[in-house]
Structure formats: structure tokens, C-alpha cells
């Protein structure tokens, strides 16, 4: 068996999973399972939220060690699922290493939904959250406008490669400002608070938080704390953005009326 390719495959699988937001435990486990196929004495995988180390060693070969730094992160549960499937097949001997490597290369770029559908998803979250929180048809309409503003803001910031903190802050700011403006000028009497709550839901770090808990439970304290911190920072940026939006709106309105 080609050890070099096996290590490369294992690390690639781990990298895709880590980028797509899988728990550390799952990433380490996957790499470990794939490496064990080589039947060498030692196989180790160490994964942090920011990088991967994998090593394969045996008296009969020279040690192969691969390190991979992971900087980007974009939740993509489909890729986690597909990589999991590949690793299962590879370990069950239903797939050769070469096939697995090719398949992983494909998975690396696979996208199920188009940009438009994703933006529709963002609008959908804010719209249906208004229903979930007990809003009526007018709130529904206002939420659609606010959600559209959020989708545009997120799309624009991802094109500009704005960092996450600023993106969340600015998006939250625009949400609050838009919702209050809509209430004031277009649809008076709507419940602007539940519209803002609905629209910030795509920003609130529920996913990161969930992963942080599961990492901590699995004993990966370094990654658990890092992700918990990430969740806190995002929550703070959203809170700051919403706060600034409300305050600015009040301030402008105060100036115009009195």
C-alpha cells in the first residue's frame, strides 16, 4: 500500500471536516481510522481548531509526518457527511485509497445549493422566525425586507473579505436600523423587536456554541475553549451592532422631530 498517499488522504479528509465545522473528536477519529489501514506501528493524529498534525511511523519505513494549517472556516454539513461516508467505505474496504483521494478532491469543492438559494435561506430564517415568535402577516412582510437587507450585507461582506467580527457587527447594525425604519415609515404597528430577533438568528453563534460544548465533553479543552471564545466574541459583535443601530436610529429621529 502507498503509505504516502494514505497519509495525504487522511489529512485531506481531516482538513475538509475541520473547515466544514466538524467536532475535533470526529476529525481525529477519521484520520486515525484511515491511518490505521496502513498497518504500521504508530499512527497519530493531533487536531486543533486551527491545524492538523498526522504522523505514520514504523521501524521499516521513514516516518511520514504532515502538518496542515487551517485558516478559513465555513460550516458545510454536507461535506462532513460525505467525508464521513468516504472514510467509512475506505475502512470497510469498499474503496481503494486512490479512489478515496479522488473522491475527497471532489468533495472539497462540492456545493449543493447556489448562492441565491443560500441568500433565500437567510431571508427564510428571519421571515419564519417572526412566525415562530408569534408575529402576524405585517411582521412577516417587514421581516422579509429586513432579511433581504441582511442577505445583501452578508453577500457584500463576503465579497469584500471582511473579517467575521466586522461582518456580524455591521450586519446586526443594518438589521436594527432597517427594522426600526420600516416600523416608522412603512408599516407602523409592527413588532420591531421580534423582527430584529428573527433577523439576527443567522448571525447568532448557535452552531459554534454546539460544537464547543461537544469538543469540551470529548476532552478537547483547547479547541472547546477556543470555540467558546469565538461564540462569545460573535455574540458580543452582534449585540454591539444591534445596540449601535437602535441608538443611531433614536438619535436621528430625535433630531428630526424635536
Amino acid at each position: 500500500m502507498n503509505d504516502k498517499l494514505l497519509v495525504e488522504t487522511a489529512v485531506l479528509a481531516g482538513e475538509i471536516m475541520l473547515i466544514s465545522g466538524a467536532e475535533i473528536f470526529r476529525v481525529e477519529n477519521t484520520i486515525d481510522h484511515i491511518l490505521r489501514k496502513a498497518g504500521r506501528n504508530t499512527c497519530e493524529a493531533i487536531v486543533f481548531s486551527t491545524g492538523i498534525f498526522a504522523s505514520l511511523n514504523d521501524p521499516s519505513i521513514e516516518a511520514i509526518t504532515v502538518a496542515r494549517r487551517v485558516t478559513v472556516r465555513a460550516t458545510n454539513l454536507n461535506r462532513v457527511y460525505l467525508v464521513n461516508d468516504v472514510s467509512r467505505k475506505l475502512c470497510g474496504d469498499q474503496m481503494t485509497v486512490e479512489e478515496a483521494y479522488e473522491r475527497l478532491k471532489e468533495i472539497q469543492t462540492v456545493m449543493q445549493y447556489s448562492r441565491w438559494l443560500k441568500n433565500a435561506g437567510i431571508v427564510g430564517v428571519s421571515v419564519f422566525f417572526t412566525l415562530l415568535l408569534g408575529g402576524g402577516s405585517r411582521d412577516f412582510l417587514a421581516a422579509a425586507i429586513t432579511g433581504a437587507v441582511l442577505a445583501v450585507a452578508m453577500e457584500a461582506s463576503s465579497r469584500l473579505r471582511l473579517n467575521d467580527f466586522c461582518m456580524n457587527g455591521i450586519s446586526a447594525f443594518l438589521i436594527a436600523f432597517t427594522a426600526l425604519s420600516v416600523e416608522r415609515f412603512l408599516l407602523p404597528g409592527i413588532k420591531s423587536d421580534i423582527i430584529i430577533i428573527g433577523a439576527i438568528m443567522p448571525l447568532v453563534p448557535g452552531v459554534i456554541f454546539t460544537t464547543a460544548i461537544r469538543d469540551t465533553l470529548n476532552g478537547d479543552y483547547a479547541s472547546g475553549t477556543a470555540r467558546m471564545m469565538e461564540a462569545v466574541v460573535i455574540a458580543l459583535s452582534v449585540a454591539a451592532g444591534v445596540g449601535a443601530g437602535i441608538r443611531l436610529f433614536q438619535w436621528i429621529m430625535g433630531g428630526l422631530i424635536w
Partner: protein, 139 residues
């Protein structure tokens, strides 16, 4: 309550699009999310406690996620992450900030504490379910 549950169903499905959930599990994840939110509403109506509601609904969502994951041989995260969305304390964060701005520090800290309580309750529920499902599992 029916409309709210339907809202939860579609909210989770919309969120699933953003998270790139595998296509064949989108509807199932929506169902799990909606069931969780229904449980949340029922507990709030019965006991009046938001924290207890978040705890019990997350417990239900985590249970359903683990069962589905085992049935379909898919990672638990796929179902769990989308399903807990409705219980995430976005509302408490918002209220805390908005009362801070209207200069009502007591209400603001009340909602801040509530945010932490709900997050803790969700964490605890996921913890418990994960531990239960790990019993007797080989490494």
C-alpha cells in the same frame, strides 16, 4: 401554537440551506427542529420557565438527532446543529442590549443572566444526551 411550530419547521429548513445540510436530511432536520420548538412552547405554557423549556426541548432534539444519526449512519452534528436553532437565546441577547440602551440596567442584566442560563441549559442537555449515547460504546 400550530403556526409557530410551522414557522419553526420552515425556519430550520431555511437555516439548513445556509449550513449546506445534505439534501435528503433537510426535511427530517426541519421536523426535529419543529418538534423541539413545540416542546419548548408546551413547557413554557406549563411551567412558565424559559430555561427549563430550553433544557427539555434541547434534550428532545439531541435525542432525536442521535437516533436519526444512528439510523442513517450520518454524523450527529448534521441533525443537532440545525435542530437546536430555535432554542438559541437570540431573543435574550437582543432584549439585554435593548434595555441597556433604554437605560434600564436591571432588566438588561436580567436578560443577560437569562442568556447565560439558556446557553447553560442547552449545553447541559447536549452533554447529557452525548454521555448517555456514549455508554457502552467501544472506543
Amino acid at each position: 401554537m400550530v403556526i409557530q411550530t410551522i414557522g419553526a419547521f420552515f425556519a430550520v429548513i431555511s437555516f439548513a440551506l445556509v449550513l449546506e445540510l445534505p439534501k435528503k436530511y433537510v426535511v427530517l432536520a426541519g421536523g426535529i427542529g419543529a418538534a423541539g420548538w413545540l416542546a419548548y412552547l408546551l413547557v413554557v405554557a406549563a411551567a412558565g420557565s424559559v430555561t427549563a423549556a430550553a433544557f427539555l426541548s434541547t434534550l428532545l432534539v439531541a435525542l432525536a438527532s442521535h437516533v436519526s444519526a444512528r439510523m442513517f449512519r450520518a454524523p450527529v452534528t448534521v441533525f443537532l446543529v440545525a435542530g437546536i436553532l430555535p432554542s438559541v437565546p437570540g431573543a435574550s441577547i437582543y432584549r439585554s442590549v435593548s434595555y441597556m440602551i433604554t437605560n434600564e440596567p436591571e432588566l438588561s442584566s436580567h436578560y443577560l443572566v437569562q442568556t447565560l442560563q439558556i446557553s447553560g441549559a442547552i449545553a447541559m442537555a447536549i452533554f447529557i444526551m452525548d454521555s448517555l449515547f456514549r455508554l457502552g460504546q467501544k472506543k
